[in-house]
């Protein structure tokens, strides 16, 4: 990891503001594979291509559906949605990524494919982490990975609870942190921080508002 202490000068100018920041690392990724010469260090670090035997192997197999990058020493794969089940299974079965650390999502409302779904994986034998990312549109579903890692059960339920992303083949996909009858998905960007399901609160708690 870069040990040099940096005063982070205001980084990539155009995406400086908050909302349009939608086009960020992931979205910026397609632009990156141009594979520029090694880590040029401008204002801030930028994702650079990730090269390793693992990557080469899958690169040749899946071609452009796969986009391996490294940012600040952390590797991730941007994967086309259609390849997700295959890639995840291969990562576990062949590459020994036997521990699914976390599954989460990021919402980019301005983008056409609104959601990034992120798998954070870890391999005990290799002592190595990798993130797998894919983009899906609102309302689209994604194959569940419960059959690959049992731990995905609750993690996917939480993603469903917070973002409304459906996981096909999940054994028991329902809300986990919020009450069953709740409307709305609070971690979407269009869900205000003070917003809540007034109707649910009035019916179930018998109060006007939870605020």
């Amino acid at each position: 990891m870069a040990e040099e202490v940096k005063t982070p000068a205001p980084p990539p100018p155009p995406e400086g503001e908050k909302k349009p920041a939608a086009e960020k690392p992931a979205a910026a990724a397609p632009a990156a594979p141009a594979k520029p010469a090694a880590p040029a260090k401008p204002a801030g670090p930028v994702p650079v291509p990730w090269t390793s035997p693992l990557v080469e192997k899958y690169r040749s197999q899946y071609g452009s559906g796969l986009d391996p990058l490294t940012y600040l020493g952390q590797n991730y794969l941007s994967v086309d949605r259609s390849l997700i089940p295959d890639i995840l299974r291969l990562l576990r079965d062949e590459e020994q990524f036997d521990y699914c650390v976390d599954i989460t999502a990021v919402h980019y409302p301005k983008r056409e494919k609104q959601f990034d779904v992120v798998w954070i994986l870890y391999s005990f034998p290799r002592n190595e982490r990798v993130r797998v990312k894919t983009q899906i549109a609102d309302g689209a579903s994604i194959p569940s990975s419960v059959s690959i890692w049992a731990t995905a059960n609750w993690l996917e339920r939480e993603v469903f609870d917070m973002f409304g992303i459906k996981f096909d083949g999940h054994p028991d996909l329902k809300r986990i942190l919020l009450p069953d009858g709740w409307n709305g998905y609070p971690l979407r960007k269009d869900y205000g921080i003070l917003q809540q399901d007034k109707e649910w609160v009035q019916i179930n708690l018998g109060i006007e508002s939870g605020q």
Binding site: D102, V106, I120, A150
Partner: protein, 384 residues
């Protein structure tokens, strides 16, 4: 097992045409108000007599939307919020968050700050394990250890209070280092604590380790194999008790951990007793780390070169530390502004709690309580 999705409180059971004297399954609702669910966990138990046929955890009673709050606060403003997740190990939460943001900004805390962080985090680990031991023993019916552990945990909280003014939700660290220099006599206090607490840990062990009833209540209870533990993403002492020697402090050292000599205890059976032993050894290992750290603490600045306004560059980072309960991870997506675009917490308790079901199937009601205790969950972190 399936419960009606929207009607989980309806505990009435259908009795189809069964013989007159046939008994049926009992569904009992443990929690959210229950002495042994460590807060507001609700477990629906499906019982055959006292035997557990299945469980379902209903969580979220303490959900505060921490991740949503993070998106609406600046990096600095969000720092105290992380203490409120695992409020038993607030220092660890703060360490994980600060290191994650530092990593995202590509800065590093100075060596002295790192040492202070290690000392406080390890003290916090002992405090967390002490609280776990007390409540776990109380769940199994041994009242006395609770008071012993709380008596000794008090000494740790006193050090925290003297250091940063808060006892529980400490907010001890800042992004880039520590805000406070150690107070005069800090090292002496810590060293006194080391000599004070070592015999106290022996005392807990005298009460429990060879106690026949304790052995019977914990051995072969809530067994989880290494393969299951890995598949379920279980981390921390629970994973190590199953025989996987994996600790982030060793595997991917952060702060100053690479400079200390300590061991990672592992168990063999993956049962409640092994988890108990692993945590007991961990407390002693923490003492070792603290001793080395307090003896070798370097002079120097405590705050790295970070700007007044924290504004990490566009990018994303995942950073995790070994919290007392397991792997505590922060996945931060930055859009270059002063607020995180997305901040995801990977809570160890939440993931570990998922293992409850397979750990208690086929066991008795009393074991459910023991297993909830041995998983060492904190509902503030499970529900966030």
């Amino acid at each position: 097992m399936s419960f009606p999705a929207n009607d989980r409180t309806n505990l009435e059971l259908e009795t189809p045409d069964k013989p007159y004297l046939d008994s049926n399954e009992l569904i009992i609702n443990m929690g959210p108000q229950h002495p042994a669910t460590h807060g507001v966990l609700r477990v629906i138990l499906k019982l055959d007599g006292e035997k557990v046929l299945g469980t379902e955890c209903v969580i979220g009673y303490l959900h505060r939307g921490v991740e949503k709050i993070a998106e609406n606060r600046t990096y600095t403003m969000f720092n105290p919020y992380v203490d409120r997740m695992d409020y038993v190990a607030a220092v660890s939460n703060g360490l994980g968050y600060c290191e994650a943001v530092e990593k995202l900004m590509n800065v590093e805390a100075p060596a002295r700050a790192k040492y202070i962080r290690v000392i406080l985090t390890e003290l916090n680990r002992i405090a967390s394990h002490q609280l776990w031991l007390g409540t776990h023993a109380l769940d199994i019916g041994a009242m006395t250890p609770l008071f012993y552990t709380f008596r000794d945990r008090e000494e740790i909280l006193k050090i925290f209070e003297k250091y940063c003014g808060a006892r529980l939700t400490t907010h001890a660290f800042r992004i880039g280092g520590c805000q406070y220099e150690t107070y005069a006599g800090f090292e002496k206090d810590v060293k006194n604590f080391l000599t004070f607490v070592a015999p106290k840990i022996d005392e807990y062990e005298t009460l429990l380790t060879t106690n026949r009833i304790w052995l019977e209540r914990t051995r072969n209870v809530g067994v989880i194999s290494a393969a299951d533990a890995i598949a379920l993403g279980v981390t921390g002492p629970v994973l190590r008790a199953s025989g996987v020697q994996w600790d982030l402090r060793k595997a991917q050292p952060y702060a100053a951990y690479s400079e200390f000599d300590f061991e990672i205890p592992i168990g063999t059976n993956g049962d409640t007793y092994d988890r108990y032993l692993v945590r007991m050894v961990e407390m002693r290992q923490s003492l070792r780390i603290i001793e080395q750290a307090v003896n070798g603490i370097p002079e120097g600045p405590i705050m790295g070169k970070v700007p007044k306004v924290i504004k990490p560059p566009v990018g994303e980072i995942y950073h995790s530390i070994e919290a007392p309960k397991g792997e505590l991870g922060y996945f931060i997506v930055s859009d270059g502004s002063t607020q995180p675009y997305r901040l995801r917490v990977r809570p160890p308790s939440f993931v570990n709690l998922q293992a409850l079901d397979i750990m208690v199937r086929g066991m008795l009601v009393a074991d459910v309580v023991a297993v909830i205790g041995t998983l060492d969950i904190v509902l503030g972190e499970v529900d966030r």
